[in-house]
């Protein structure tokens, strides 16, 4: 929003005030000023001139040679304006003067010398009008500097609308002036209005508010005998500087009032609209707004109608049919208050946000409707003294806001602010802001002014803001809190996450990635990944990605596909969320998962399988001091990217926490046949609930142990874990340890078999074991294994 300092100074004295400092103060105490524009300083030596002679330009059909009387002399200039005529009074820029960026010098235009320039409104910076010269009223002595009667010089500051969302009172100059008066400790002048009570005996306008939910107040007045069509120049300049295009007197006046008080108004041609019904329509209705657009207005949108048909969309825009035209000489003036939420939603549905609807959205003060009419009338009568009021001020005040009273004391302010603001200061600030203040020492009793009481100020905490912002946050003494030292409880989940990330990135040189929480359906399709139905987003603007993922792996496989061309050797991981369906209470079962993916053209499918398994084991050992167990799980086959054979669930103490797998050949063929891929997914909450193994320390035996490697011949399909469980059946106190050394397979030498070399360590804590006893133990062990069809390889 643009704020004119000339306009402000009508309501509060700005003399002697440094505007820059004031604007800085305004930013810190009220709302951010985004930009400052200086107008009119670049207009110099532009005077009133009268065209007294027009001749054709010898070299141009469009240009003319004109003689301009500027009082002291007559000067010749070249003029291209189509509306030039003898007797026209125009702004004339003299030699040595300035118009915008243009310095006026003697110039040859199409071969003829010009000694100055006749100006359009656009050239003077007061509007976009450049179709012809600006024509002045013939009332000024020729040669008068136009700045003596035109308020060309003004400082306009631009306030960010967003920072005014919560301040409906600041959507007009008068409200801003009130704020500035407080900041400068000067007084705010009362509005100069016509007291409409003198018309109370005139007839009422026929107004019926049929929808008392959506319309809070509807005030109106009719006026006839309006002769003037064009607004005075200074009003047009102000509107224009504030970003509003001047149209005609009545439209300009409604806009002017909206910019002055923040109250949107509408002027209906009284010949076309004489009665008012405020209501919604039971069915969708076609309506042409004054921007000449045919609109469908739905049944939730409030309409202003006459006895027959809609004439305006309440709070948004009037209709074309009842619009002010050149013929209009009487008006029905609307100054109303509509429900802000209703206006906002209707404006959104219609796709039509206007200056009026933007103000209603902020929930403006219903007390404004009558002063707006009275002020309108005051201005209209000054401009066009012949006008006549033809109705009494008709006011349907359907819904009043409650008066808000707030009690508080200085101690409350002290506690909230942490500084000492005196009770006198509090009283002074709040009174200046318009609050009704009753004070007993440090106890306060407030009445919130109507312009702040629609939603903005409702409770004690709101008063803190009023006091502190005027006090100035930059004047605050800042302090640390007075609190004791207490130990901080840190979330284990988070610190484990960082440990995992560091381990994966540092030890395994993997790259952490982030992917979206939904399935990327296009990529899944390309890779042939089929996902199960899961909870969906209802309104995603990328509709194909509407399913929340139940697993991270498809996202990661998509990343593999994206990166394989630049470098096929990769390891990626993500800690991210998935939706594991719904819980019993109907809420999403959100899980935090770790997803890992490895891809390589150097490692074989088998190697990458074991690499992936190694990483999983390393992680769990680091985090939980425990080696997981693995199991075949049929259910994994539901994911078509999981390998039906070479996949396994990961378990801690018998509880499944995730799985790992190599890629299913079907997906692999689509991704890259030569690329070997393995992946793992672990549920971090399940991992978190699993017990962490404590550290255990035991003394090392002083006596030497004996290690014996045995190569065991087994069926090829036998898993190593079976050998482990068989060996564990041999309960021997001296067999302290055993582990896998090597697995040898050779279809020719050992058809259907494999040789598994295991290293056994026998040791006693009391003595050195004899060779003979060890041999006995080995024999016993081998006998036990032989019973399981495992023999020693010869």
């Amino acid at each position: 929003m643009f704020i004119s300092m000339n306009w402000i100074s009508e309501f509060t004295d700005l003399s002697g005030i440094n505007l820059k400092e004031l604007i800085g103060r305004f930013t810190l105490s009220t709302a951010e000023v985004e930009d400052i524009h200086e107008y009119g300083k670049n207009i110099k030596d532009v005077v009133v001139g009268k065209i007294i002679e027009i001749n054709d330009h010898p070299n141009s059909k469009k240009l003319h040679l004109v003689k301009v009387d500027i009082g002291t002399e007559v000067v010749g200039c070249v003029c291209g304006a189509p509306n030039v005529f003898v007797g026209a009074v125009v702004p004339f820029a003299k030699l040595g003067g300035q118009v915008g960026d243009l310095e006026i010098k003697e110039a040859k235009i199409a071969g003829e010398i010009s000694h100055g320039m006749c100006c359009s409104e656009k050239e003077l910076g007061i509007s976009d009008e450049h179709s012809g010269l600006m024509i002045l009223e013939d009332i000024y002595p020729l040669g008068t500097d136009i700045k003596t009667f035109m308020q060309l010089e003004d400082t306009i500051f631009e306030v960010d609308n967003k920072s005014l969302t919560n301040r409906p009172d600041l959507w007009g100059h008068y409200g801003i002036a009130r704020e500035i008066a407080v900041l400068t400790k000067r007084s705010l002048k009362p509005l100069d209005v016509v007291n409409t009570s003198i018309y109370k005996d005139l007839a009422q306008i026929d107004i019926k508010v049929e929808d008392a939910e959506r319309c809070f107040r509807y005030s109106a007045l009719t006026v006839k005998n309006i002769q003037k069509k064009k607004s005075p120049i200074n009003m047009r300049i102000r509107l224009s500087y504030c970003g509003m295009r001047p149209i005609n007197l009545l439209a300009d006046l409604t806009n002017y009032l909206m910019m002055e008080l923040g109250q949107p108004m509408h002027a209906f041609d009284h010949k076309k609209v004489s009665a008012i019904r405020v209501k919604t329509y039971p069915e969708v209705v076609d309506f042409k707004t004054l921007d000449s657009v045919d609109r469908k207005v739905d049944t939730d949108t409030l309409l202003i109608c006459d006895e027959k048909e809609p004439v305006a969309i309440a709070g948004i825009m009037g209709g074309e049919l009842s619009e002010i035209t050149d013929e209009t000489d009487s008006v029905l003036l609307e100054s109303a208050n509509f429900d802000g939420v209703c206006v906002r939603k209707s404006a959104t549905r219609l796709g039509l946000r206007t200056d009026a609807s933007a103000r209603y959205e902020k929930i403006i003060d219903p007390e404004l409707t009558v002063p707006a009419i009275e002020r309108f009338l005051k201005l209209l009568m000054e401009i066009d003294p012949g006008v006549e009021v033809t109705s009494s001020l008709t006011d349907c005040y359907v819904k009043h806001y409650d008066t808000i009273g707030i009690e508080f004391n200085k101690a409350y302010v002290d506690k909230y602010t942490g500084i000492d603001i005196t009770s006198d200061q509090i009283e002074e600030t709040l009174t200046a802001l318009g609050f009704g203040v009753t004070r007993n020492q440090d106890e306060f009793n407030l009445v919130v002014p109507s312009w702040r009481a629609t939603k903005d100020v409702t409770m004690k905490a709101d008063i803190i803001e009023e006091i502190t912002r005027i006090y100035g946050y930059d004047n605050f003494e800042i302090r640390s809190t007075k609190s004791f030292l207490t130990p901080v409880r840190h979330s284990v989940v988070r610190s484990n996450e960082y440990r995992m990330k560091e381990l994966l990135s540092e030890r395994y040189a993997m790259n952490e990635v982030h992917s979206y929480i939904w399935y990327e359906s296009k990529m899944n399709k390309e890779l042939g990944i089929i996902t199960e139905p899961n909870i969906r987003i209802m309104n995603s603007i990328t509709a194909e990605n509407d399913t929340i993922r139940a697993t991270i792996i498809p996202s990661l496989l998509g990343f593999v596909a994206k990166n394989v061309d630049s470098n096929p050797e990769m390891g990626m991981y993500e800690i991210g969320r998935v939706a594991n369906g719904l819980k019993e209470d109907g809420l999403v079962d959100e899980r935090k998962r770790l997803g890992i993916v490895l891809a390589s053209k150097k490692l074989s499918d088998k190697e990458i399988y074991f690499k992936c398994k190694e990483i999983v084991e390393q992680l769990l050992l680091s985090i939980k001091n425990v080696r997981p167990t693995f199991a075949i799980k049929e259910a994994l086959a539901k994911y078509n990217y999981v390998h039906p054979v070479n996949s396994a669930s990961i378990q801690l103490a018998g509880e499944e926490i995730g799985y790992f797998s190599v890629i299913n050949p079907k997906i692999k063929n689509k991704l890259d046949k030569k690329l070997n891929v393995a992946f793992a997914e672990i549920d971090l909450e399940l991992l978190e609930t699993a017990a962490k193994e404590p550290l255990r320390y035991s003394e090392i035996s002083k006596y030497p142990g004996v290690t014996i490697d045995l190569s065991l011949l087994t069926d090829k399909a036998l898993r190593y874990e079976n050998i482990v469980s068989y060996v564990k059946e041999y309960e021997c106190e001296y067999l302290q340890n055993f582990h896998l050394v090597d697995i040898f397979e050779d279809e020719k030498l050992l058809p259907g078999k494999k040789s598994v070399t295991v290293r056994f360590e026998f040791i006693s804590k009391e003595r050195t074991l004899e060779g003979q006893e060890i041999q006995t133990m080995v024999d016993e062990l081998l006998a036990l294994l032989a019973a399981k069809d495992i023999v020693i390889r010869k």
Binding site: L28, T30, A31, E32, S163, T165, T348, E361, Y416, T417, G418, I419, M459, A461, E465, Y473, D474, F476, I478, R479, S480, T481, S483, L485, T486, V488, R489, H490, S491, V493, R494, Y498, K501, E502, S505, A509, M510, N511, E512, V513, S515, Y516, I535, R536, I537, M538, N539, S540, I541, G558, F559, K562, N567, M572, R577, L582, G586, L587, V588, E590
Partner: protein
């Protein structure tokens, strides 16, 4: 006897001079000092002498023995040094400029920035909390004082799920849960929590817009928390985050979950506050929203607003990472593009 010793000595010197190799020394040692060596033999010969002569000759033989032993040790050292020098002279000089085959993994830029900030807050006694990404409407809106009909609820940029839940639009969605988890703080022991999280907005993506991004929010609630404390904390914390002594300033700002609410600016790092194009000549950069937690929010969180006050602040983590690493295109973060992400080495 003595003549014999002289002869042995002369012979030893001669033989030693002819030695070049280390193992030859051993041969000489055996030849002179071994069981059948010349010196040993000479010692054996002593038994043929009378007592007096044995004493004199014995001394001489022992002297000779010592002398030979020493000479051998000396000579051995000399030879070792000579061989060492020869080895060094023939050593290949390795080229340290040949690059090693080191691979380092990377962390996501968000993780890097997030953990740095978490560490700063931990030193100031903040608990780090985590919230759900899929939230109820209550937690995301009502619980933080954004009632139905509030303009923020109109915005079509919230992802709504089939079951009525939504993808959280801001980290504030965790406030209610956290307040309920920890309850009203004990006197003098304010609740200090930091909760980073991933947020979602249903909008089209381009270089400066993402539908999935990270924020970080913090709050401090106690029986004695004031605006003055808020300014202090923000100044101290932001000085740590930006590793310089930042100046902060507050301006009124409106956010439904705080009252009063502020926009916090920091002095521009580029010009130091004198005004430059980066700060639009104001000397200040708008950094984060903050404020005193709205009494309604406290009440809904089960904390009595008549007894407790608190402040809250939010920070765009994604935006901060972009500032820190000069990332121009926000799409990097969720791209999985390893060419780019591999630069964030740890």
């Amino acid at each position: 006897m003595l003549e014999n010793l002289e002869k042995i000595k002369a012979q030893f010197k001669e033989e030693l001079n002819g030695v070049n190799m280390k193992d030859e020394i051993e041969r000489i040692r055996v030849a002179f000092l071994g069981k059948k060596g010349l010196v040993t033999e000479a010692l054996k010969d002593l038994r043929n002498l009378d007592v007096e002569a044995k004493k004199v000759a014995g001394q001489q033989v022992n002297l000779l023995k010592d002398e030979i032993e020493k000479a051998i040790v000396e000579f051995q050292k000399t030879l070792e040094e000579r061989e060492y020098q020869k080895e060094i002279a023939n050593t290949e000089r390795y080229d340290f400029s040949i690059p090693s085959d080191v691979t380092v993994g990377t962390l996501h830029p968000i993780t890097i920035v997030q953990s740095q900030i978490e560490d700063i807050f931990k030193t100031m006694g903040f608990i780090i909390e985590d919230g759900l990404e899929i939230q109820t409407e209550f937690n995301n809106f009502e619980g933080v004082n954004i009632p139905k009909n509030h303009p923020a609820r109109d915005m079509t940029d919230t992802y709504y799920l089939e079951n009525g839940q939504l993808l959280k639009t801001h980290t504030s969605a965790a406030q209610n849960t956290i307040m309920r988890k920890y309850g009203a703080p004990k006197p003098g022991e304010p609740l200090k929590v930091l909760f980073p999280g991933r947020c979602f907005r249903n909008e089209n993506i381009d270089a400066s817009h993402e539908n999935t991004f990270f924020q970080l929010e913090g709050m401090m609630i106690g029986d004695d928390i004031s605006i003055s404390n808020l300014i202090y904390f923000m100044k101290v914390l932001l000085s740590e985050v930006f590793e310089r002594d930042v100046k902060v300033r507050l301006r009124p700002g409106f956010f439904p979950f705080v009252e009063p609410g502020f926009e916090l600016d920091i002095n521009c790092a580029i010009c130091g506050g004198s005004g430059c194009p980066t700060c639009k000549h104001s000397g200040w950069l708008e950094l984060l929203p903050c404020g005193m937690i709205h009494p309604n929010v406290l009440r809904l969180g089960g904390i009595d607003p008549d007894k407790y006050t608190g402040f809250a602040f939010g920070l765009g983590l994604t935006r901060l990472a972009m500032m820190k690493y000069n990332i121009k295109d926000i799409r990097l973060f969720n791209s999985g593009n390893l060419k780019q992400l591999r630069q964030f080495t740890i």
